[in-house]
Amino acid sequence: MSDTATTSGRPLLEVNGMSKYFGSVIAIKDISMFVRAGEVTCLLGDNGAGKSTLIKTLSGVYRPDEGEYLFDGESMSLSSPRDALSRGIATVYQDLAMIPLMSIWRNFFLGSEPTKGWGPFRRYDVERARATTREEMGKMGIDIRDPDQAVGTLSGGERQSVAIARAVFFGARVLILDEPTAALGVKQAGVVLRYILQAKHRGIGVIFISHNPHHAYPVGDHFVILRRGQVYGDYAKDELALDKLVQLMAGGAELENLAHELERAATSGEEVDRELASAAKIIEHEAVGSSTTPEPVQTEAAPAEREATDADD
C-alpha cells in the first residue's frame, strides 16, 4: 500500500480517555484514538468489545461520561447526531442508512432537498437532484443507469455506497462507518472497500468499524483493537501483518483456548486472505491512479468459488 501523505499532520478527530457507563456497566473505558484527514482508522473488536457504544459516542448519540473529544484540534461536546452532522461528522449505520422503497435520488437528498421557485410555488428541483445524484455516484465510481430505481433493488454493498456518497456530498469531513461490510459477501464487500478508499483519497477521515480483519486490513492505515471496552492495541499498518491482526482480534489470553477454532478459520480464510490482498492492490491502484474504466475487483478467484462465498449473504 502506498503511503500517500497519511502519517503526517495532526488528527482531525481525536478522543482521549473517553469512558461511558450505563449504570454499573462499564461500556467503554479510557478509550483514546484518532483519525487524520485522508486516513482510514479501523476500529476492530469482537462482539461486546464496545464498538457500538464508541460509535454512538463519536457520532453524538451518547454523551461520554469521561474524556476529551477533539475535532480539528478543538475540544467540544456533541449535543446530538444532527449537531455532529452539521460539524461534518457523518455516520452511516448499517441498517438505518436508506429507505428501500424510495428511489436513489429521493434517498440521496432526503432531508436536504434542493428547491427552486418561491412562495407557494417552491418545489423540489427534481432534475437537479437526479443529475447530482448521478454525478456524485459517478465520482465514487458507481454508474447509475437509472436514478429512479428503488434503493431496495440495489445490492447491500451498493446501498452502503450510496449512503457513503451522500455523506461525502453533504460535506462530511469524518465518515464513521458502522460495519458497512458485515452483511456482505466478499464481492460486495470489495465494492464497499473501494468506496472507503475513494473517500479517503478525497481527504476525508474515515473511521471504519468492523469485526472482520480481512476487510479492515486492505484499506486501513492504522488499527485500533478494542477488547472488553478498552483499547487493546493501536497499530500502524506497517507494524502489523494480517495474521497478527487476526490473532489480536481474538485476544492474547483467549488465543490458546480458541486455538482450534482459529486454526479452522485461518485455513478456510486463506483463500479470502489472498483474494483480499490482491483486491486491495487493485482497489488502491484504482483509487489513486488513472480514472479509466475500473476493472472488476476479483480477477483471481474462479467464479464458482466466489459464488460459494457470496451465498452467505
Binding site: R82, I99, P100, F109, L110, G141, A150, G152, T293, P296
Partner: protein, 362 residues
C-alpha cells in the same frame, strides 16, 4: 439471496450491477393496479349491464357523483397512508363538521347559534382541523399505532357529535341550510351552492361540481407528493421513520400536518353534502373511513406506508363507485355489494404485495 447474486454477472465492464426489466419498471408504478381495475370493472359492467345503458352520460354522471366525495377523502387518506399512518376517524369528523355547520347557523330558538353561513363554515373547518390535531398529537406523543388511536377517536368524535347535537337541539338531524325561515333565503347560500353543490348538465348527465374538487385536489396532492420536498418527507416518513429522522426530516410535523389534512378533507366533503342536501345528520359519514382506506389501498398504497399514489387512490374511489352503480343498475341484489367490495380489496392487496416485491426485492 438470489436477487443479489444473480444480477452481478462476471462480465462487469461497467458497474451496472443491476438491470431492471421493463416489466418490473411498469409494475412499479403504484397506480397501475387501479388503472387496470378501472378498465376491467368498466368493461365488465359495460358488457353485463349493456341492456341498462351502463355506457351513457347519465350513468357516467351517477358514477362520478358517487366517486367524488369518496375520492376527496381517499386523496387525503392516501397521503397519510404513504406517511405510514391511518385515520379511521374521518367518517366521524365528516359527521361532526356537517353537524357543526348546521348547529352554528340554526337560530337560537331551535338550540343553535344563529351565525351567518360563511362564518359557520369557517368555524366548522377550524373545529374539524382541531380534531385532526388531536389525532396527530396523540399519535406523536404516544407512539402507539394510529390505527388504535383513531379507532378511539372514531367513537369519541361520533359520540360527541350525537351527544352535543341532542343536548343543544334535542334532535339528531337538522335541515334548512338554504333558508333562514320559510321563503327567506339564507344569505351566502347561493355562493356556497355554486361552489359546492351545483350540478352541470352535459349531454343528459348531471355532473356535481364536487367532481372538479376531486380532480383538482388529486392533482394538487400529486404535485405536492412528487414535486415538493414535503412530498419527499412524506415518502421518507412512511418508508423508514428512523432513517428519515436521522437525516433531518421533521417526521412528527409531517404526520401532524397530514392528520389535519384528512380532517380538512372530511370537512370539505361534509360541506359539499350539507349544501347538496340542505341538511346534516349525526350519523353521516359512518363507514366512509373504511371505504377511503380501501380506495387508497386499491390505488396502490401499502398498509405499511412508504409507497403509494394519490392518483391511484382517486382511481380507487372510481372503482368503488362503478361497482356500486353497476350493481344498482343491473338490478343485482344490493346485498351482494359488500361481497364484491371485500373481494376487490383482497385482490388489490394481493396484487399490490406482488408489485412491491417486484419493485423492491428484498
Amino acid at each position: 439471496m438470489a436477487t443479489e447474486t444473480a444480477p452481478a454477472p462476471v462480465v462487469q465492464e461497467d458497474e451496472r450491477v443491476r438491470r431492471g426489466g421493463a416489466l418490473s419498471r411498469l409494475l412499479s408504478r403504484p397506480e397501475l393496479g387501479a388503472l387496470v381495475g378501472v378498465v376491467l370493472v368498466y368493461v365488465f359492467f359495460a358488457i353485463v349491464a349493456a341492456d341498462h345503458n351502463f355506457v351513457s352520460f347519465p350513468t357516467l354522471a351517477s358514477i362520478l357523483n358517487r366517486a367524488a366525495p369518496l375520492g376527496i377523502l381517499a386523496v387525503a387518506v392516501a397521503l397519510l397512508m404513504i406517511a405510514g399512518e391511518f385515520d379511521l376517524s374521518i367518517g366521524s369528523i365528516l359527521g361532526f363538521a356537517g353537524m357543526a355547520i348546521l348547529i352554528l347557523v340554526t337560530s337560537p330558538d331551535d338550540g343553535g347559534y344563529g351565525l351567518a353561513l360563511w362564518p359557520a363554515v369557517g368555524i366548522a373547518i377550524v373545529l374539524a382541523s382541531f380534531t385532526g390535531v388531536v389525532n396527530g398529537v396523540l399519535v406523536n406523543l404516544t407512539k402507539l399505532p394510529s390505527f388504535i388511536i383513531t379507532l378511539g377517536t372514531l367513537f369519541i368524535f361520533r359520540g360527541l357529535t350525537i351527544a352535543v347535537t341532542r343536548a343543544l337541539t334535542n334532535r339528531t338531524q337538522l335541515s334548512g341550510l338554504d333558508e333562514v325561515s320559510r321563503d327567506v333565503p339564507r344569505p351566502g347560500f347561493d355562493l356556497a351552492h355554486t361552489l359546492f353543490g351545483i350540478k352541470v348538465e352535459v349531454l343528459g348527465g348531471r355532473f356535481d361540481i364536487a367532481i372538479l374538487w376531486w380532480i383538482g385536489l388529486a392533482a394538487l396532492a400529486t404535485w405536492i407528493l412528487l414535486r415538493t420536498r414535503q412530498g419527499n418527507w412524506i415518502f421518507g416518513t412512511g418508508g423508514a421513520v428512523d432513517a428519515a429522522r436521522n437525516v433531518g426530516v421533521p417526521v412528527n410535523r409531517v404526520k401532524l400536518t397530514l392528520f389535519v389534512t384528512t380532517a380538512v378533507a372530511a370537512s370539505l366533503v361534509a360541506l359539499i353534502q350539507v349544501v347538496q342536501t340542505n341538511s346534516a345528520d349525526t350519523l353521516r359519514g359512518a363507514g366512509l373511513e373504511f371505504e377511503a382506506i380501501i380506495a387508497a389501498v386499491v390505488g396502490g398504497c401499502l398498509l405499511t406506508g412508504g409507497y403509494g399514489s394519490v392518483v391511484g387512490a382517486a382511481l380507487g374511489a372510481l372503482i368503488f363507485a362503478m361497482t356500486r352503480q353497476g350493481i344498482v343498475i343491473t338490478g343485482i341484489d344490493g346485498d351482494w355489494y359488500q361481497v364484491v367490495l371485500g373481494t376487490v380489496l383482497v385482490v388489490a392487496v394481493i396484487f399490490n404485495n406482488f408489485v412491491r416485491k417486484k419493485a423492491a426485492a428484498r
